[in-house]
């Protein structure tokens, strides 16, 4: 079991409450997994030409200034560095291709958990209450949140193996279930030069979708290709900068409930996680059908 969450706001007036609305959902879904917790917050809080890099190091304290200094100025002039617990958020106007290369070849103890113009990724081993408190999730603003509470089945319980997997700029995936043919898909992606951070099955799906999107597919088309390619049980929430999409496998063994109002679209593994949302009594509540791709 795992818990998955997606909350996309339609009403900008709620953006200041995004974190506060999402934490109780994650906290409730801790009953589906407490191995690790992760959340991606989408917020337009930097200039359009800049990128954010969500970095992580298990050591605390860690000398982030020295680490950034070791990258030979790749972040350019005027970058900002904000540290919270084991995470550092760097905002830079410099070329992302060079930055991603420098990060990969730099200190291997530093992990890149996500990057883009909108996405901030926070994830760590531990239950939702602890991880959300540590990273001040309740106070974070934004227009979309994607979250996960993990009960590990296919790979180790580490922060690196936690969801969301954010592989392309502003693209992330959370997964409830298990893929049975992921090793074959992974080999194919590796043969095409795709780099993996972990041996996790969900990362394979994230990078598969990332490749499809990079080759020009729409999110809906990418998820239809997932249905054809992946065997196993899955309910997925996938987000890009401007969209959130869901899909369930043909057996629909893993639960998913959608609640939609004029103010938001909320997705969760179980309805009771959404029961504290404002206006839920009047929401249109439904389950996606097997193999049905929905996007907002």
């Amino acid at each position: 079991m795992c818990g998955i969450v997606g909350l996309k706001l339609k009403n900008p007036a709620l953006e200041n409450q995004l974190g506060a609305l999402t934490v109780p959902i994650l906290d409730c879904l801790a009953s589906r997994g407490e191995d690790s917790t992760g959340i991606a917050i989408y917020t337009h809080d930097i200039g359009k030409s800049a990128h954010k890099y969500s970095l992580y190091n298990p050591e605390m304290p860690f000398d982030w200034e020295q680490y950034v200094g070791s990258l030979d100025g790749v972040f350019g002039d005027g970058f900002t560095l904000t540290v919270q617990a084991r995470q550092a958020l760097v905002v830079s106007e410099a070329d992302p291709v060079q930055i991603l290369s420098a990060l990969r070849h730099g200190d291997p103890t530093v992990r890149l958990f996500g990057y883009g113009n909108a996405i901030d990724v926070f994830k760590e081993v531990g239950p939702a209450s602890v991880v959300c408190e540590r990273y001040g999730i309740a106070n974070r603003a934004g227009y979309m949140a994607i979250g996960h509470t993990r009960m590990a089945t296919e790979s180790a319980v580490t922060t690196e193996h936690s969801h969301p997997f954010a592989v392309n700029a502003d693209v992330c995936l959370v997964h409830n279930g298990s893929f049975s043919n992921y090793a074959s898909v992974r080999r194919d992606l590796v043969d095409h030069g795709i780099h993996f951070d972990t041996d996790n099955d969900s990362e394979v799906c994230a990078r598969f979708i990332g490749r499809e999107l990079a080759e020009g597919a729409t999110m809906a088309d990418a998820l239809k290709t997932v249905l054809k390619t992946f065997d196993g049980f899955y309910s997925l929430v996938v987000a890009s900068e401007d969209s959130m999409a869901v899909v369930r496998d043909s057996f629909a063994c893993k639960p998913m409930v959608v609640a939609e109002t004029d103010d938001y679209v909320a997705v969760a593994s179980e309805y009771h996680a959404l029961a504290e949302l404002p206006g839920i009594e009047d929401a249109r509540v439904f389950e996606p059908n097997p193999e049905e791709v929905l996007s907002w």
Binding site: F251, A252, P255, E270, Y271, H272, A275, E287, N289
Partner: protein, 227 residues
């Protein structure tokens, strides 16, 4: 007016289920603010009437052997799972595996039920006013499934002795099923079910009856034999 009121906002799930178990037969109860709570009103054998005032979660009424339960909302997975006797009436929709493995009693879903409704039914009765999702009635061994609306794919796959009645369209039948003409006994049964459930949008003239084709009952030693 009800005899007793409990609220999920002020009591834990266990406190509510323990309190329900201690009530004498004939008591009427309302449970407010269920907020999608799982496992409400499970494992009771007293003949009480319970009204859940809102959307509830998984396993509502599961393992019960007596009470009559009404949910003024929708429910999650496995409503009335392993029900022995009594009724569970859901005014809204039900998620997957409604009435799974139920031995007796009746689960009534006034709206739609999702995938695998009535899976492994063992003698109970499941009535759904709307549609049911795919693989409903899978391996149902005994009992009755009555669907007022449509049934999605693979209905009744690997069916044993349970009988399925569908008022609407059937997307596809599962393995080892067949359609049979309604008998007078079937029509009488359907008339009774329509009266009990209030599903008067269903006309017995349009109902399709699905039963096991019994081709999987015995192992065929010669099947696929190459030599």
């Amino acid at each position: 007016m009800v005899d007793v009121e409990y609220s999920c906002a002020s009591m834990t799930l266990r406190e509510i289920n323990v309190a329900l178990r201690a009530l004498p037969d004939g008591t009427t109860v309302r449970i407010s603010e269920p907020r999608g709570c799982h496992n409400l009103v499970v494992g009771l054998s007293n003949k009480i009437s319970v009204e859940i005032d809102g959307n509830a979660g998984y396993f509502i009424g599961g393992l019960c052997d007596g009470p009559d339960i009404t949910v003024n909302g929708s429910v999650g997975w496995s409503v009335g799972e392993n029900l022995m006797a009594g009724t569970v009436r859901v005014k809204g929709n039900a998620s997957e595996s409604a009435c799974a493995s139920s031995h007796g009693g009746m689960v009534i879903v006034e709206g739609d039920a999702s995938s695998r409704a009535g899976i492994s039914l063992k003698g109970g009765t499941l009535c759904v006013g709307g549609s049911v999702g795919h693989m409903s009635g899978f391996m149902a061994q005994a009992g009755t499934i009555f669907v007022g609306g449509d049934a999605q794919g693979s209905l009744g796959d690997s069916l044993y002795e349970a009988v399925i009645y569908v008022g609407g369209k059937v997307s596809s039948l599962g393995s080892d099923t067949k359609v049979e003409e309604l008998t007078d006994v079937d029509k009488k049964t359907l008339g009774e079910l329509i009266a009990i459930t209030g599903f008067d949008h269903v006309s017995t003239d349009n109902v399709t009856k699905i039963v096991s084709a019994k081709t999987l009952y015995n192992f065929d030693a010669l099947k696929d034999q190459k030599y």
